[in-house]
Amino acid sequence: MSLESRVAEIIIDKLGVKPEQITAEAQFDTDLGADSIDQYELIMGFEDAFGLRIDEDEATKLTTVGKVVEYLKEKGLD
């Protein structure tokens, strides 16, 4: 499974959104309806799934689906 699909799967599971809502540009708060606690949970979901730790400063910058994918790629995941 591609990195993009794995990320999408976690977002769908945590936020209860539809697959078609997930685009690279989709903002977690405005487009996917995630409040701040939803976003913490999402970050923890990525940490669990990809076996890494995302510190708080980095986490606050991950505001869109695309930024998450980009971040994970930078960390050497694909």
Binding site: L15, G16, I37, Y40, E41, M44, D48
Partner: protein, 414 residues
């Protein structure tokens, strides 16, 4: 003149039904909801039976995100509240600011607490789910119901163990009398079937160990009773000021005419000698309702099937009503079929009591065969009985020595 408070909507999800009509029908028929435990592995427990809510999938009721972010106890409260609110027809007929919620729980989100505690121990505190606190706390059911129904008036929880939802209804009645709301969703919910939930009550030796015969294990007032049967569920009533209800042409189930609340101030789990505290609660409820013991026709007893409760509650009823009168009325425990729904017990029993009044039928103590020595009232053993009822009391007693009695009256028009 004092405001009159009526029940205009009912909702319940219980071991004997997913709705009020189902639960009432099973209760009248004496069909037990107690089975071998399946929600937790009962193998290690001395008590391996429970009143579980059957065929329940939260995803049938709540959107997936909500279903995952609510504890089972909150789900029961929300589902019972939705049924009650729909039943009342209040939607769009009350300003949200005048609609309150008082929904209690004895324990709260213990399933969530256990799960996240395990996460903390096994994977570290940083892995605790960010929703843990707002899922676990025992007031969140009331908060969630407020969001779900858009009830913006007073909103809080009553936490008095097995008396929680009795207190919710008693306090809600007073709140409406005081003019603090026009209607209130009042009740409680419980989901205690977890390792520590069941294990804790087992450690107290409070639960029945009649594992080979689940259906008759909850046998209030019987000489062979050996403890209560732990159960889960939720129950909520809509309490509404009478004029408000009449102005919108609402159906009225029954009138809540009073309540009595006391404390044993005696022991954390055992009832006081002769049920002194419970007797005072019944007397206060009659006083609040402005009635004499002679006018009471039925008592829905707390009747847990523990050795201590049933004998002491029997004595308390005699103390409150006078021995001769106590022997002439019907007293029954619907826990004989539901098991003990803890924080939801008072509300589902208030619903059963209001149905008994409106339909003129007394639900039975279904499993009672051989009344214990000293348990010598008319407990309506085995079968439901038709009877003309006007006033009824419903008792709820909780660990901590909390006693609450509700006084209900058949609704006979304005």
């Amino acid at each position: 003149m004092r405001k009159r408070i009526v029940i205009t909507g009912v909702g319940a999800i219980s071991p004997v039904g997913l709705t009020v009509p189902e639960s009432w029908e099973s209760t009248l028929a004496g069909r037990s909801g107690v089975t071998r435990m399946t929600i937790v592995d009962p193998e290690e427990f001395p008590s391996q039976i429970a009143g579980e809510v059957k065929n329940f999938d939260p995803f049938d009721y709540l959107d997936p995100k909500l279903a995952k972010r609510t504890d089972r106890y909150t789900q029961f409260a929300m589902i019972a509240s939705r049924e009650a609110f729909a039943d009342s027809g209040l939607k769009g007929k009350i300003s949200p600011e005048r609609l309150g919620v008082i929904v209690g729980s004895g324990i709260g989100g213990i399933t969530t607490l256990e799960r996240e505690h395990k996460v903390a121990l096994e994977r570290g505190v940083r892995r605790i789910n960010p929703f843990f606190c707002p899922m676990m706390i025992s007031n969140i059911a009331a908060g969630r119901v407020g969001i779900d129904i858009c009830a913006k008036g007073l909103n809080f929880s009553t936490v008095t163990a097995c008396a929680s939802s009795g207190h919710a209804i008693a306090v809600a009645t007073d709140m409406i009398r005081l003019g603090r709301a026009d209607a209130i969703l009042a009740g409680g919910s419980e989901a205690p079937l977890t390792l520590t939930g069941v294990g804790g009550f087992c450690a107290l030796k409070a639960l029945s160990t009649r594992n080979d015969d689940p259906e008759t294990a909850s046998r209030p007032f019987d000489r062979d009773r050996d403890g209560f049967v732990i159960a889960e569920g939720g129950a909520v009533v809509i309490l509404e000021e009478l004029e408000h209800a009449l102005n919108r042409g609402a159906h009225v189930y029954a009138e809540v005419v009073g309540s009595g609340m006391t404390c044993d101030a005696f022991h954390i789990t055992a009832p006081s000698e002769g049920g002194e505290g419970s007797a005072r609660a019944m007397k206060l409820a009659m006083e609040d309702a402005g009635i004499e013991p002679e006018q009471v026709d039925y008592i829905n007893a707390h009747g847990t099937s523990t050795v201590l409760n049933d004998i002491n509650e029997t004595i308390a009823i005699k103390t409150a009503l006078g021995e001769e009168k106590a022997r002439r009325i019907a007293v029954s425990s619907t826990k004989s079929v539901t098991g003990h729904m803890l924080g939801a017990a008072g509300a589902i029993e208030a619903i059963f009591t209001s149905f008994a009044l409106s339909e003129g039928i007394v639900p039975p103590t279904a499993t009672l065969v051989n009344p214990d020595e000293g348990c010598d009232l008319d407990y309506v053993p085995g079968r439901a009985r038709e009877a003309e009822l006007v006033y009824a009391l419903s008792n709820s007693l909780g660990f901590g020595g909390h006693n609450v009695t509700l006084a209900l009256k058949k609704y006979m028009g304005k």
